[in-house]
């Protein structure tokens, strides 16, 4: 399996008031193309910082990030924008849909700037929202909103899907359905999926698990037998 993402000695420091915070310390790992990766860690462990740097939304203090062989940690702002536009899709904990656009329009917002977008109707079928495309976010449940958010991220046809606590705001059953959907996308569309969560149970469905604590990677291993989302419980 070829490497899609390579992280090398990544550190991030920032000032909070007068206090220097080491959000990320010397992190290094590699992710293969098409892997389903779960980054586990409690709040403040640096996982969101790591995700933001991988997604080109934040810059490291030191270290390198390679995406498909290109060193994105050296990218200019313009290159980073292109990287986010063509290579990465984000899914957030609170869905963050545009309130005054319908589900379909929220997805179109992303496909309009994509180079080779997927068919929107097919993606809506995939996320199970065929009948709800023309509804506004306020008319959708939390789970449905998250499906729209996933459709928005996937439809651009990015190589990498980055999900920040995608089940954090959902109930148990809905959360499991969202995880199934992410797994389906990973297997059917061959997308590399990176999920960050504090929920250790989710690690059981991953191909690769990276555990973090206090900005450091304390464990990085491949799951020999990943479970299906339906099998895991928390």
């Amino acid at each position: 399996m070829s490497s899609v993402l390579k992280i090398n000695g990544l550190s991030k420091e920032y000032l909070m008031g007068e206090v220097k915070v080491n959000a990320l310390r010397d992190a290094s790992f590699e992710i293969g193309s098409g892997e389903f990766v779960v980054i586990l860690g409690p709040s403040g462990s640096g996982k969101s910082t790591l995700l933001n740097i991988i997604g080109g939304m934040d810059e490291p203090t030191s270290g390198e990030v390679f995406f498909s062989g290109s060193k994105i940690s050296n990218y200019s702002q313009k290159d980073l924008t292109d990287y986010r536009r063509y290579q990465v899709g984000f899914v957030f904990q609170f869905y963050n849909l545009m309130a005054n656009l319908t589900a379909r329009e929220n997805v179109e917002l992303a496909t309009e700037i994509a180079r080779d977008p997927l068919n929107i109707d097919e993606v809506f079928t995939l996320v199970g929202l065929d009948e709800r495309k023309d509804h506004f976010p306020s008319q959708l449940s939390g789970g449905e909103q998250q499906r729209v958010a996933i459709a928005r991220a996937v439809c651009k046809n990015p190589e990498l899907l980055l999900c920040d606590e995608p089940t954090g705001a959902l109930d148990y059953d809905t959360g499991k359905k969202i995880l199934s959907l992410l797994r389906d996308i990973n297997s059917s569309l061959k997308k590399t999926v990176l999920v960050i969560t504090h929920n250790a149970a989710i690690g059981k469905m991953a191909d690769r698990v990276i555990r973090m604590r206090s900005g450091e990677i304390i464990e990085n291993y491949l799951n020999e037998k990943p479970l299906s989302p339906e099998e895991i419980e928390w």
């Binding site: 939304m57 609170f94 963050n96 849909l97 005054n100 651009k156």
Partner: protein
């Protein structure tokens, strides 16, 4: 349509009230800019076209008398293209009403076809050679319902003649028809102009070719040449009283004052509206961007560039600029058409030129868009700094510090919860509070200015024709009389007061500046003039020296004790140096005043008087108007009545200014309150959860607005005063001085109007609170 544009449209729809409010203010700015500018250009074009076709004179000369030789000498000057000698006299028109006085200026029509100040025939034909026919200036004909076929009787040189009206005419010389600089307002019912055939007139009065008036035009390449000195030399022995160049000719000047006023107003008033629209737009966009922080982060995370996101929000502002520009242009153009036709009517210009000025269309659009782009940049520029990763994190709550009032524990604890909330909110959101206070003060200032304008002319007239000049009648003679004849006039009626006067034009010279001013000679202890110096202290007519009006002092930079050179029109008379003994407040006209005896001694010959001032309860008009020596009778009362008619005309524009000022106040309060509600939606929702009623929450907003209204009005007072002062600086000229303070009633009325408009705006925002879904607001995480 792009999805981002669709989102923008829906955002606009959601806040359509505020969007329309800003649009209205911007539209008003552009429509004022367009309508005033285009009107002034149209008026100028119509005027100049009329001057060209009417062969309007470049110079007007009043003199004692002259003949063909002098006219030929003038014609011989290489700069002069054409010169006409004219007989001009003022005569009372005999009407059926004994108590009415009507003065007409009778002007001879040269026999040649190619006349200077050629008449535009409105109806009929010009008087035939040698016949007792008359052409009547349209203004007089309309005001007195004079028609072709009617006959007019007037009295001049001791004889009454009856003339048949053969035409109604317009003249470029009398586009704005007033009796003298002092009368200021047109009064066509009592003052007009008629034209007689020159041959008939000179025979009738035995004038021959002894002209007392010359008009001339210059060759094109000498159009702006100063000919005064040259003409004075040619006319050395003719008793030149006044040489007036076209720019100083009273009718032409009045039109130009109006054009200048339009130009000045078009460059200042719209700026206020555009600036207010831009500020509100900028502030509003800034709030939208702050509230949309997460959405902006999401867009950036999706791969939208800074430029794309910035432009998305800028389009909000630019769309206002384009729509406001277009609507403003359309209404402005329509309004300019109406204004121009109103002006050409008012000024009696028979030609109306209305053109489309593409450069103004472009300029208005550019102006509109530039203001909005700048506002948009101010409001949206922070987008560039929004970091997508950071924007997703919830914003840290505002640092809550104790306000300055909370440091006064006794005072603070005496306040109710709602007052504490109101005052705390005011002291914590400084930029919004400053915006509202400035907005209210601007509204107040605009309204005060409008109310003031309504008052000022009235007040000026009362001061000028009540306090400054208190005579009831001013009777002018057709030729100077000896002062001892005053007893004769005193016995003609039951007279309370009678004083002689002398009024002649003289050239004032200081350095390279020269200007012809009427000097009025008065008795030392005059009871009809009340001179007040610049500190409003009373002054008497000095036995020697001269009193000058404030605008004359300004024109020649004269101080007390300075000497001014005065040139007499009497042939071979040396120039006289006169000491300035006083500078008097004078609201209308530009004059100088002297002791009548001193004036006769140094500037004239013998004991002359050119008229009398009379106060009387008797019927002065009927008793004096038949006297051969009387050329005109001016009544103070009549001037007042004319003026009241004129103020009726300006009510419309004042009304428009009040509406525009009110719109400013409405928009400022409406948008600011809406922004405040949006920002405090969580706070209000929490209050609702705690059991506060909608009415109580709205009361918080109302109280806050009341406090800011009081502060805004207090600040608006000096701002309004500054506006009024700028009016004085911008619009005062030799014809009138606008230096009147606003009355207490003006201040109170402006405050009342401000509060009224704010109340209406507040009422309009009430719906937001009524519709507040507090539970939704508390749990919402959509962007």
């Amino acid at each position: 349509m792009k999805i981002l544009d669709l989102r923008l449209l829906r955002t606009i729809k959601e806040s359509k009230g505020q969007y329309i409010a800003i649009l209205v203010v911007l539209t008003i700015g552009i429509l004022i800019y367009t309508s005033l500018n285009i009107s002034s250009i149209n008026l100028k074009d119509s005027l100049y076209t009329y001057y060209d076709t009417g062969n309007f004179a470049d110079y007007f000369i009043e003199l004692m008398n002259t003949d063909e030789t002098v006219i030929n000498n003038i014609m011989a000057l290489e700069q002069v293209s054409q010169a006409n000698g004219r007989h001009v006299l003022e005569a009372p028109l005999i009407t059926n009403d004994e108590n009415e006085r009507v003065t007409v200026r009778v002007i001879s029509l040269p026999e040649n076809e190619d006349r200077i100040n050629n008449l535009e025939l409105i109806e009929g034909r010009l008087p035939l050679k040698g016949s007792a026919e008359v052409a009547v200036l349209e203004q007089l004909a309309v005001a007195r319902n004079i028609n072709i076929g009617d006959s007019l009787i007037f009295q001049a040189h001791g004889q009454q003649i009856e003339l048949a009206v053969v035409s109604l005419v317009a003249s470029p010389e009398f586009v704005y028809l007033i009796e003298s600089e002092q009368t200021f307002m047109p009064n066509p019912e009592n003052y007009g102009v008629v034209y007689l055939d020159e041959g008939f007139m000179s025979r009738q009065y035995g004038l021959g070719s002894n002209y007392n008036n010359i008009v001339l035009t210059l060759e094109d390449n000498y159009k702006n040449h100063d000919m005064k000195k040259l003409l004075e030399d040619v006319l050395k022995y003719t008793g030149v009283m006044r040489i007036t160049e076209r720019s100083e000719q009273i009718s032409n000047r009045m039109v130009h004052e109006e054009i200048n006023g339009l130009e000045k107003a078009s460059n200042s008033i719209p700026l206020i509206f555009l600036a207010v629209a831009a500020i509100i737009l900028g502030v509003m966009l800034k709030r939208i961007v702050e509230n949309d922080r997460i959405a902006i982060g999401i867009l950036k995370s999706m791969g939208y560039s800074n430029k794309e996101v910035l432009f998305h929000y800028m389009k909000y502002a630019i769309s206002i600029g384009i729509i406001g520009g277009i609507i403003g242009l359309i209404i402005g153009y329509a309004l300019s058409g109406m204004m121009t036709s109103m002006y050409v009517d008012f000024f009696n210009i028979p030609l109306l030129t209305v053109n489309i000025y593409y450069e103004y269309i472009a300029l208005s659009m550019i102006l509109s868009v530039i203001f909005c782009v700048l506002a948009g940049l101010y409001g949206a520029i922070k987008i560039i700094k929004i970091h997508p990763a950071e924007s997703m994190r919830p914003q840290a709550p505002m640092v809550g510090k104790r306000t300055i009032l909370e440091k006064l524990p006794k005072f603070w604890s005496s306040l109710s919860f709602s007052w504490k909330n109101v005052l705390r909110n005011i002291l914590r959101s400084k930029s919004r509070v400053i915006f509202i206070i400035l907005g209210i003060s601007l509204t107040y200032a605009v309204l005060l200015f409008s109310v003031y304008i309504n008052d000022v002319f009235d007040e000026m007239f009362n001061l000028h024709f009540g306090e400054f000049m208190s005579m009831e009648y001013e009777i002018n003679f057709s030729q100077p009389l000896n002062m001892n004849q005053i007893d004769y006039f005193e016995e003609l009626a039951d007279i309370d007061l009678i004083e002689p006067k002398n009024e002649f034009p003289f050239e004032f010279i200081k350095g390279r500046e020269n200007y012809v001013i009427n000097i009025i000679g008065l008795e030392e202890n005059t009871n009809v003039y009340n001179f007040r110096d610049l500190s409003y202290m009373q002054m008497k007519v000095p036995s020697t020296g001269i009193i000058v009006s404030e605008n004359l002092a300004r024109k020649f930079d004269l101080q007390l004790g300075d000497y001014i050179e005065v040139s007499s029109f009497i042939p071979e008379r040396d120039n006289v140096l006169l000491e300035v003994k006083g500078v008097t407040k004078q609201l209308f006209g530009i004059n100088a005043y002297m002791n009548i005896e001193f004036m006769n001694e140094v500037l004239l010959d013998g004991e002359m008087m050119t008229g009398i001032y009379v106060n009387s309860k008797d019927n002065i008009v009927s008793k004096f108007k038949h006297l051969p020596v009387v050329s005109s009778i001016l009544s103070n009362q009549e001037l007042r009545e004319v003026f009241e008619e004129f103020t009726g005309l300006i009510i419309l524009s004042i009304g428009m200014m009040v509406v525009f000022g009110g719109i400013l106040g409405f928009v400022i309060i409406y948008t600011a309150t809406n922004m405040s509600i949006s920002e405090r939606i969580m706070e209000f929702s929490s209050l609702r959860v705690m059991g506060f009623r909608k009415k109580e929450i709205f009361a918080l907003i109302k109280k806050e607005n009341y406090v800011l209204t009081v502060l805004g009005i207090l600040l608006g007072i000096p701002l309004g005063k500054a506006f009024i002062q700028s009016l004085d600086i911008m619009f005062s000229n030799e014809l009138y001085t606008l230096s009147i303070n606003a009355s207490i009633m003006s201040y109170i009325l402006a405050a009342f109007l401000t509060i009224l408009f704010i109340y209406i705006a507040q009422f309009a925002t009430r719906r937001r609170i009524e519709k507040l879904e507090f539970l939704e607001a508390l749990k919402n995480r959509m962007v």
